[in-house]
């Protein structure tokens, strides 16, 4: 047969990988459910108008479209489940008591993923709390992240906090034109202050201080505290320091980093946003505060593929045993003892049983009701 190639960015998860994916997914959902997060399952496809109701240009441009032959309307395939949760919280679940805790797991599709991850179909897992008082739920989320990473046996991880609305404050303070704002954003994206002097000398100083405050929070807080920022920027910085101090107090041993100038590419965060990285510099989760109309929310999500790569959990659930076709009675007791049963499909001689057990990577085989180790 001619080999059938999948489209670029799509792949099959074969047995071992699929088992690990399924297990990690189950661990995540179980942990969230136990912590009072109700699971929801929004659909893969919605009409464009509802899928992009929070108008996020990035997601909008990066989503697959199909035409609904029934309604003749354009539909979009989701590329971020968080937006669907936001739609639910102010729609079907608008009258549910607050805070509303929801969790989810499902596939998303992107027209183009980033250059490090070429997959176009990715599984997103996440949790959101809708209707919160501001700045009070970071602790709950960080605790959940610690718990889930421990269960997934991902040791040594780091949290990096950013201020997604700082750029707006700077824009207000320096009354930046649209052109200058785009220029500044580009500079922030590259951590490069070149050319900012032309707009304003004070702005250059402000950016230089913020830029030199990237890294471990405890080492950089002094920098932020002592510099006198302009009015709106100062308000943002003060809020950030208050939240960060609270977090450090509760989690003194966690590796906590800050990056005040990071641009929030998801475009919907307010307050603080954060990312969780593994020691191999891979992103595990990202999250933060956001608003759905007037309601304050906070949440985090991650891609199953990244968790699978970094997780050290084992997927084998017991020793495999090869069982001849007529040993039905014995199977029940073996299953109880935690064996994984591999059944023969026809009558086999003792030699054939031995060969087949080896072929199917079994640890044992059953012969005359005796368990025999595969040599």
């Amino acid at each position: 047969m001619k080999s059938q190639l999948l489209p670029e960015g799509f792949r099959d998860s074969l047995p071992e990988l699929a088992a690990k994916e399924y297990k990690i997914n189950s661990i995540f959902i179980e942990l969230m459910s136990k912590n009072g997060y109700s699971i929801v399952r929004p659909p893969l496809i919605e009409f464009e108008s509802s899928l992009f109701f929070l108008t996020n240009e990035n997601e909008n441009e990066n989503s697959f479209r199909i035409l609904d032959p029934l309604s003749q309307k354009m539909m979009g395939i989701r590329s971020d489940i968080t937006l669907q949760i936001a739609r639910l919280s102010c729609g079907a679940l608008a009258n549910s008591p607050r805070p509303l805790r929801l969790c989810y797991s499902g596939d998303i599709f992107k027209v183009k993923n980033n250059s490090l991850n070429l997959s176009r179909q990715i599984t997103q897992v996440g949790s959101e709390i809708m209707g919160i008082e501001q700045n009070l739920c970071e602790k709950e989320l960080i605790n959940l992240i610690i718990e889930i990473l421990a269960k997934l046996k991902i040791k040594n991880f780091f949290l990096s906090f950013t201020m997604p609305t700082l750029i707006d404050a700077i824009c207000k303070d320096f009354k930046l034109s649209k052109k200058d704002l785009e220029f500044i954003k580009e500079r922030f994206r590259n951590k490069n202050i070149y050319g900012i002097k032309k707009i304003s000398r004070t702005l250059e100083n402000v950016v230089a201080v913020l830029q030199s405050s990237v890294g471990s929070f405890s080492e950089n807080i002094k920098n932020l505290k002592t510099f006198k920022f302009p009015k709106f920027t100062q308000i943002e910085i003060n809020n950030f320091i208050i939240i960060m101090k609270k977090i450090i107090k509760v989690f003194p041993k966690l590796g906590i980093f800050i990056d005040p100038l990071e641009i929030d590419e998801s475009q919907y965060h307010s307050g603080i946003a954060f990312k969780v990285f593994s020691k191999n510099l891979k992103e595990l989760f990202s999250g933060g505060n956001y608003k759905v109309f007037n309601e304050n929310c906070i949440g985090f999500s991650g891609f199953l593929e990244n968790l699978v790569k970094e997780s050290n959990i084992k997927t084998n659930i017991g020793s495999k045993i090869f069982v001849p076709i007529d040993s039905e009675i014995d199977i029940k007791s073996k299953k109880k003892n935690g064996y994984i049963i591999v059944r023969a499909i026809k009558k086999l001689t003792s030699k054939e049983i031995r060969i087949n057990a080896k072929l199917h990577c079994c640890d044992y085989y059953l012969y005359n009701n005796k368990i025999i180790k595969v040599e």
């Binding site: 980033n114 250059s115 994206r189 490069n192 890294g215 471990s216 080492e219 980093f257 990285f277 510099l281």
Partner: protein
């Protein structure tokens, strides 16, 4: 935390980079200067820093994937790959050249703008496609990894896009430079996540370069 790994390009840029490294008091081990050495990773006088020597086109990739934490790459490579995972923090002011369009002298008379479609021999497929797309022209690139200037002469196509520094190769192959896509210098680039998590060590190296450049 781990050692910092710096990716540097082989070839022309390296010759200009070595004096800069020395002035910045970053001294690689002796093997680094031995062109016959098969070693790919080198220690330096700084215990926290190792250097890898890779092709200029691969520096950005090594840094984007976090295999190297910092690197030296030209604007041509950064534009071609457009990695979002990289900060381009400092202009090292070395490796100056330009990415230019060159055409056979007869073809130059025909204005590019009057065509809707063009064939270009180049190593920079993405950069070229985007450049012409902005002008409303569909460019079809023939990927060549070297001796691009031969393409028009041997009849592959009449337009090329390649690096130009003195312009001699272009002239000697009966071509004329007609437009500059990009003015290029080499930049110090940093992996975004490494910049957060290993900031102290990286800033120390960054400051060494800054000090040298500012005299």
């Amino acid at each position: 935390m781990k050692k910092i790994i710096m990716a540097v390009p082989k070839g022309r840029i390296l010759d200009e980079l070595v004096p800069l490294l020395k002035k910045s008091k970053i001294i690689p081990e002796a093997d680094f200067f031995d062109k016959k050495s098969r070693k790919l990773m080198f220690s330096t006088n700084n215990n926290d820093l190792s250097i890898i020597r890779v092709r200029a086109f691969d520096v950005a990739t090594f840094v984007a994937f976090g295999a190297a934490h910092i690197g030296v790459a030209g604007d041509d490579v950064l534009t071609e790959f457009g990695y979002e995972e990289i900060y381009d923090v400092l202009d090292l002011k070395i490796g100056k050249c330009r990415l230019s369009i060159a055409k056979t002298i007869e073809k130059k008379k025909n204005n590019i703008g009057s065509q809707g479609h063009i064939m270009v021999a180049t190593k920079y497929k993405n950069t070229v496609t985007n450049y012409f797309a902005n002008k409303g022209i569909r460019a079809e690139c023939i990927k060549l990894n070297g001796a691009v200037e031969l393409a028009p002469r041997l009849g592959i196509c009449s337009t090329i896009v390649d690096l130009v520094s003195t312009g001699r190769t272009i002239k000697e192959n009966n071509l004329e430079e007609c437009d500059v896509l990009l003015n290029i210098t080499s930049k110090l680039i940093i992996n975004k996540i490494a910049y957060k998590l290993m900031n102290e060590k990286i800033t120390r190296i960054l400051n060494k370069f800054k000090k040298t450049l500012n005299g």
